[in-house]
């Protein structure tokens, strides 16, 4: 216990957290602007007539045309966080608005959005504004040059969990021994300049799979260790630049490359700040007050609980029978990234007891993205079936029954039906318990 107590008392320069706040805020603002500019607010949150809400978050709905306002609030909060103005309000606003957006529709779920939400939540309780922020410039009472070491370490730990669990998820037979799904994805890029021809070789996906797995598992430790840090960071750049070039994964590589700077020393971050002050001709006297910030004691327990939860939650899949990649029960919120090439086809038939019957045109209810996501994920198939039940009940079908003819291919295996075609999905309830109407995978993917 003495060890823990003395660790909790250890202080560090506030500079790394301040630099992280600035980078994180601007990156997030940039990614929101990009999202807006690509017209995705309209196509993902306004145009669709149905949204796949998360279990327990059914009350989260898009705001119609006002969804733009939601993004505006979110972007504004990100900017305020970056410059450190009205920090507490801004970071709470950022956490709430960003999480709200991500909870609107499951089909847009991305692990890195979840990561951003979690970092925002941590930042709500961390003193990222006490140093080199507009708030601390205006109010000398909140200024501090030193903060508890664990404040910074908690950001590092969050990143370490992301990487390590992403690596752990790759320790499976599909990834390591069949190089799936990279064996499918990489040949698709064989027309790239310079390196494209490599992807014609069967061993390249294996090399990439093993490198990716080892990278994810080891990078947090290498970054944490002063001796390897520079080389580890070079690996971070190489890895994420490669993934950015090869796969359409948007802002994620860029966010990770910038976020990983948090592992660098206080000196490094101080130099960054000194550089910024000289570029923008900011007076620097207020940055050297020698004051320390004390985090409230309840946070010790709070953060501990948070991290224990983070470390345990990805293992919840063990509570379900069946193959995780097939059922996806416990798949989300577990840092399982780019692990599956999964494609599917789902055709629904609705029957009323009054003899009415219809084969559903998914196009009338779902966007292309939503249909693609729904057709491979059992929980979304169920949600959609319930939507169809209600829709056709309104169309005059009495107590509609909903059946699905599904067909799913996973990681290069030939497709097969995923959902029992004889189950009336209208009567099945969604819950955290195992969905018995998912047909068995009849194959094993060994590993995590």
């Amino acid at each position: 216990m003495m060890g823990i107590n003395s660790y909790l008392k250890k202080t560090s320069s506030a500079a790394p957290l301040a630099v992280f706040r600035i980078c994180f805020g601007f990156m997030l603002m940039g990614s929101l602007i990009r999202f807006w500019a690509k017209g995705w607010i309209d196509s993902l949150y306004i145009k669709p007539t149905y949204f796949f809400s998360f279990y327990g978050f059914e009350w989260v709905k898009p705001w119609g045309e006002y969804t733009y306002v939601l993004f505006l609030i979110c972007g504004l909060c990100a900017f305020l966080v970056a410059i450190g103005l009205f920090y507490r309000v801004a970071i709470i606003g950022l956490f709430l608005s960003f999480s709200y957006i991500e909870l609107i529709d499951k089909s847009t779920y991305l692990n890195h959005y979840y990561f951003i939400s979690l970092i925002c939540l941590l930042l709500v309780f961390l003193p990222a504004q006490v140093y080199f922020s507009v708030d601390s410039y205006r109010n000398k009472h909140i200024r501090a040059q030193f903060i508890p070491q664990w404040n910074i370490d908690s950001i590092k730990l969050m990143m370490a969990i992301l990487y390590f669990y992403a690596g752990l998820a790759k320790v499976n037979s599909d990834w390591l021994f069949h190089a799936q799904p990279l064996s499918i994805w990489l040949p698709a890029r064989n027309d790239m300049p310079i390196i494209g021809f490599l992807f014609n070789y069967a061993w390249i996906p294996y090399l990439f799979s093993w490198f990716g797995c080892l990278y994810d598992l080891s990078i947090p430790f290498l970054l944490w260790n002063k001796k390897f840090r520079i080389w580890a960071y070079v690996a971070v750049i190489v890895f994420h630049v490669l993934t950015a070039l090869l796969f359409p994964i948007g802002m994620f590589p860029h966010i990770m490359m910038v976020a990983a700077l948090i592992f660098f020393s206080a000196d490094f971050h101080q130099k960054v700040i000194d550089r910024l002050t000289s570029i923008f001709r900011i007076p620097s006297t207020w940055l050297h007050d020698n004051l320390s910030y004390q985090s409230p004691r309840f946070l010790h327990v709070g953060f501990m609980v948070f991290f224990i939860f983070q470390m345990a939650f990805p293992f919840r899949y063990l509570a379900y029978p069946g193959e995780l990649f097939w059922t996806e029960e416990g798949y989300r919120f577990s840092w399982r990234v780019m692990l599956m090439e999964k494609a599917g086809y789902a055709q629904f038939t609705v029957k009323g007891t009054n003899g009415l019957q219809a084969v559903v045109n998914n196009n009338l209810h779902l966007s292309t993205l939503q249909e693609k996501m729904m057709s491979t994920q059992p929980d979304m198939i169920l949600q959609y079936a319930h939507h169809l039940r209600d829709y056709y009940a309104n169309m005059g079908f009495t107590s509609p029954q909903v059946y699905v003819d599904s067909y799913v291919a996973l990681n290069g295996r030939l497709g097969k039906p995923m959902i029992s075609p004889h189950t009336d999905l209208a009567k099945e309830q969604d819950s955290f318990s195992h969905k018995t109407w998912i047909l068995p995978f009849n194959d094993t993917i060994k590993g995590f």
């Binding site: 064996s183 499918i184 994805w185 040949p187 698709a188 890029r189 064989n190 027309d191 310079i194 390196i195 021809f197 490599l198 014609n200 070789y201 069967a202 061993w203 390249i204 090399l207 070079v234 750049i237 190489v238 630049v241 490669l242 070039l245 359409p248 090439e341 999964k342 494609a343 599917g344 086809y345 055709q347 019957q357 219809a358 084969v359 559903v360 045109n361 998914n362 196009n363 292309t368 249909e371 693609k372 067909y407 799913v408 291919a409 290069g412 295996r413 030939l414 497709g415 194959d443």
Partner: protein
Amino acid sequence: MKKYLLIVLTGLIWACGSNGTGTDEPTPQEDGKDRKAILIHLADHVIIPSYANFKLKLDAMLAKSDAFTSQPNTANLQAFRSAWIEAYIEWQKVELFDFGPAEKQTIRNFFNIYPANEIGIQSNIADPAANLEVPASYAQQGFPALDFLINGVAKTDEEIVAYYLTPVEGTKRIAYIKRLTTRMNSLLDKVINEWNTTYRETYVSKTGLDISSSTSLMINGFVLHYERFIRSGKFGIPSGAMLNGVVAPEKVEAFYKKDISLVLAKTAHQAYVDFFNGKAVKTGFEGPSIKTYLDALKANDSATGKNLSEIINAQLEATKLKLDVLKPNLYEEVKTNNQAMVTVYTEMQKTVRLLKVDMTSAMSITITYTDNDGD
């Protein structure tokens, strides 16, 4: 910085490669993963020659059509009709290229949307300025409209000829036939012209697999063609398999001529099989194709080790066998032997799954068109 690192890494991987796994790896070209080779073969030996063949048949039809319209008599009608049949059959071999120029001109919408809209056709005859560019006019032109005009306006050939010899009205009817055939000719010319000038180069150079790449557009068009126009259009809708068992014999292709509906379907199906296998139109030689690409990717059923391309070909063959037992007149088949029609649909549904899920997934192609099932 990023570029520099990438080059270093490339060098490293290159170095590993050359002293590593050795020289028995096939070169990319032999390996069949070279999409450019596939695109070149399909463009030069399948697509462009198919359009050229169709152009010949359409020209022949135009000549017979002109002969009939300048002198409506039964001999000219019969000659026009058989040229129409030949062109309609040949059309089935190009309808599947629904990407690039064909998609840009939406040629299929103007050539083969059926059942024909009789009321619309009649009102267009009355109004020579009627707009034929809008979606509402799709079913008022192309092969199905001609089907109505030369096979469906009366029972016997004499009566049909009489229909065009009616004073005042007859001239307008003849003018409409001319308008339709001229329009078909000019649309086809636009498509062929673009293939022969700029598009061939665009097609063979966009070798990626992103949603705007040639392969992605082609595969999307190819899968959609099977799902919506072969499976649903020719069998699913008329047989009622897609509409709660409500049969609609009047929705078969070539409804007025009736006895060519099967040959149209079989031709379309064979053209589909041939395109999948990259069969050159002139020589019959099977070159780089979707099939060879899937083989190069080693796409197979991991349970049995069977090639995906073999599975697809076997399923297409199984479908063909179901087609073979049908009688030439699908209108009659729907009315008297509909179970055989439904069986074809069911067999085709299995093919759709293989194409839409297994094939695209193995190729890492995203299906970007939206479903139209149940329409």
